[in-house]
């Protein structure tokens, strides 16, 4: 793996949460490299540190120690404001509960991400292709409450991609979906990865979902314990 093709380089990453007077270690020394254009699945039991790892890569929380270089910049050395800037452009989040703003239409949920990052809600002309690929172009003027779970998750994926992030972080994206919608969303993620070269990191409990990735990382007790390389070609 060359330096240039590595989009995420994590070394000896530790994260300790202070709960009252007790220190709770969430990550105990994680080392991980992710290649540009890779589709990586992170699996592990609850409390293994998967979400904490995502939150640090996505700049939602700083690490306690270690380095996390994302697209050439070390998150560990960033200020709050720099991490906020990073979230605008470098990463896009997809959550298990979709996390759409309930008062806005699907279109406006996507547009507000654009507005936050660029100051204008106007979408790129070629973004329409992604909306077609996601199969939501005809549902954009509905509010989340009028959309199915699968449609809401596809809107959330569109929102995560609207600023052309280097990395898509999907935290249990099929956790709230039935098997048909899960398969549709996973196929979409794989298509985005293969057709557009989008780097994707996906947390999942589901081995079938993990099988859509190029590589699987197993975590337990705040550490990576195993790598599986899958042949997706």
């Amino acid at each position: 793996m060359s330096e240039a093709s590595t989009i995420i380089r994590i070394r000896d990453l530790k994260k300790v949460y202070h709960v009252g007077e007790v220190d709770v270690p969430a990550l105990r020394g994680v080392n991980l490299d992710v290649e540009r254009g890779e589709f990586l699945a992170v699996v592990g039991p609850s409390g293994s540190g998967k979400s904490t790892l995502f939150h640090i890569i996505g700049g939602l929380t700083p690490p306690t120690s270690g380095s996390v270089v994302v697209n050439g910049r070390d998150v560990a050395r960033m200020s709050d404001a720099e991490r906020t800037e990073m979230r605008k452009r470098e990463v896009g989040f997809v959550f298990q509960k979709y996390n759409l703003l309930p008062t806005l239409t699907a279109y406006d949920n996507i547009a507000i991400a654009r507005h936050i990052a660029r100051g204008s809600p106007e979408l790129d002309g070629d973004f329409r292709q992604i909306l077609e690929l996601l199969g939501i172009a005809h549902r954009l003027h509905h509010k989340p409450s009028a959309l199915s779970g699968g449609e809401q998750q596809r809107v959330a994926i569109a929102r995560a991609l609207v600023n052309h992030p280097a990395i898509l972080l999907a935290d249990e994206p099929t956790g709230n979906l039935d098997s048909r919608n899960s398969e549709a969303v996973l196929t979409l993620l794989r298509d985005l990865n293969k057709r557009l070269g989008q780097t994707i990191l996906m947390i999942t409990h589901n081995p079938e979902a993990a099988a859509y990735a190029d590589r699987i990382v197993h975590m337990r007790d705040g550490r990576i314990v195993e790598f599986d390389n899958l042949d997706q070609t």
């Binding site: 939150h55 996505g58 939602l60 929380t61 404001a81 906020t84 800037e85 990073m86 979230r87 605008k88 452009r89 989040f93 959550f95 996390n99 759409l100 703003l101 309930p102 008062t103 806005l104 406006d108 547009a111 507000i112 991400a113 507005h115 936050i116 990052a117 809600p121 929102r159």
Partner: protein, 364 residues
């Protein structure tokens, strides 16, 4: 985009939004009503003073400009005034408060009518006996009084002899002698009025009177009516400030509670916006816009409601209170309401802006 989000958020909780707007509306109405009443009543007093038709007003030493003290001056002084050059009419009155802001005024009806150009009777006519009373149309409307009726004022029954158009000094007029005796001021006056041959001589006459009558308060009608201002009524400005202060506290509390609950309710939304890269300033901007929109809507409602309070005052108690429409206060009241609301938005806004994104996203 932000305005759309703010508008959708407000539409999402219509009852809370409506109550917030109503509360801010009441706050603005309180301000506009108290200012409108203060200015309206002073203006009405000044208008009625001008309606007396006098060029010069004379009040005894030590009396207050606004409000009639019973500090009397001798009635004989009218003879002195009549002898002065340029004075055509000199007459006087006795005033006695009867509760609230109303007073009964004792007049030499014929002399005063000559000075003011005559009363216009809407019903009935001039005094025919010592126990007669003449009221103006506003007082008659407020108290539902008709000519021929007997009304009890100052523990005495008065026969309503006439109802006149308002605007001539007093709302309740009784014969001068009767009121002088009734108040123990026989041969005394509360104030005197001088009509000159030519208003151009006013200053000359005033200068001459001031030289002869030390300590008496002698005003031209322009000077006298100019003294009907908020700053010349003891305690009125402080009262207005207290009401405005209370209004600001109401606005502050309403916006604080409204936004505090909104921020709690939207904790997850704040987390979502932060995960998209929204800065604390961006979050704060949303809440401040929401506050500004609530305040502007509330202020508009408050302005409309102030017309309602004015209608109620002028319909039900037109003789006791007069409320003026004060458009020059609309932006001031809106600004004051906005300041209170922004202070109220400060803590919820700060709380939302500082919210931890991960905790916010986990909020159920």
């Amino acid at each position: 985009m932000l305005n759309k989000l703010v508008l959708e958020n407000l539409k999402h909780r219509p009852v809370r939004t409506a109550l917030s707007i109503l509360a801010i509306g009441v706050e603005v109405t309180m301000m506009l009503t108290v200012v409108g009443l203060s200015e309206g009543m002073l203006e009405d007093s000044a208008r009625r003073a001008r309606g007396a038709g006098a060029d010069i007003w004379v009040r005894p030493p030590g009396s207050a400009v606004i409000g009639l003290s019973s500090a009397p001056m001798p009635e004989k002084i009218l003879e002195f005034f009549r002898k002065q050059p340029h004075v055509v009419i000199a007459t006087g009155s006795v005033a006695h408060p009867i509760g609230g802001v109303n007073t009964v005024t004792g007049l030499d009806f014929e002399e005063f009518s000559r000075m003011c150009g005559g009363f216009k009777f809407l019903e009935g006519g001039p005094f025919q006996g010592p126990d007669d009373i003449i009221v103006d149309e506003r007082y008659a409307r407020q108290e539902n009084i008709r000519v021929g009726q007997t009304i009890r004022i100052m523990n005495r029954d008065w026969y309503v002899r006439g109802v006149v158009e308002p605007g001539k000094l007093a709302r309740l007029i009784v014969p001068l002698r009767t009121l002088q005796e009734l108040t123990g001021n026989t041969g005394k006056l509360t104030q005197a009025y001088l009509k000159l041959d030519d208003p151009a001589n006013t200053q000359k006459v005033i200068d001459s009177l001031k030289a002869q009558l030390k300590d008496y308060q002698i005003y031209s009608i322009e000077e006298f009516t100019s003294l009907f201002s908020v700053s010349n009524v003891p305690g009125l400005r402080a009262f207005i400030h207290v009401i405005i202060g209370l209004s600001v506290v109401v606005g502050f509390l309403v916006v604080f509670l409204s936004l505090y609950t909104a921020v709690l309710e939207r904790t997850r939304e704040v987390g979502i916006l932060k995960s998209l890269g929204a800065s604390p300033a961006y979050i704060l901007n949303i809440l401040l816009r929401e506050t500004a929109l609530l305040t502007l809507a509330g202020s508009l409602l408050g302005i409309v409601l102030s017309f309602g309070t004015r209608w109620a005052v002028m319909t039900f108690i037109p003789a006791s209170l007069t409320q003026k429409t004060v458009p020059e206060w609309w932006p001031i009241a809106t600004g004051i309401a906005l300041a209170g609301a922004l202070i109220g938005a400060a803590y919820p806004g700060w709380k939302a802006a500082r919210q931890d994104a991960i905790e916010a996203l986990a909020y159920e």
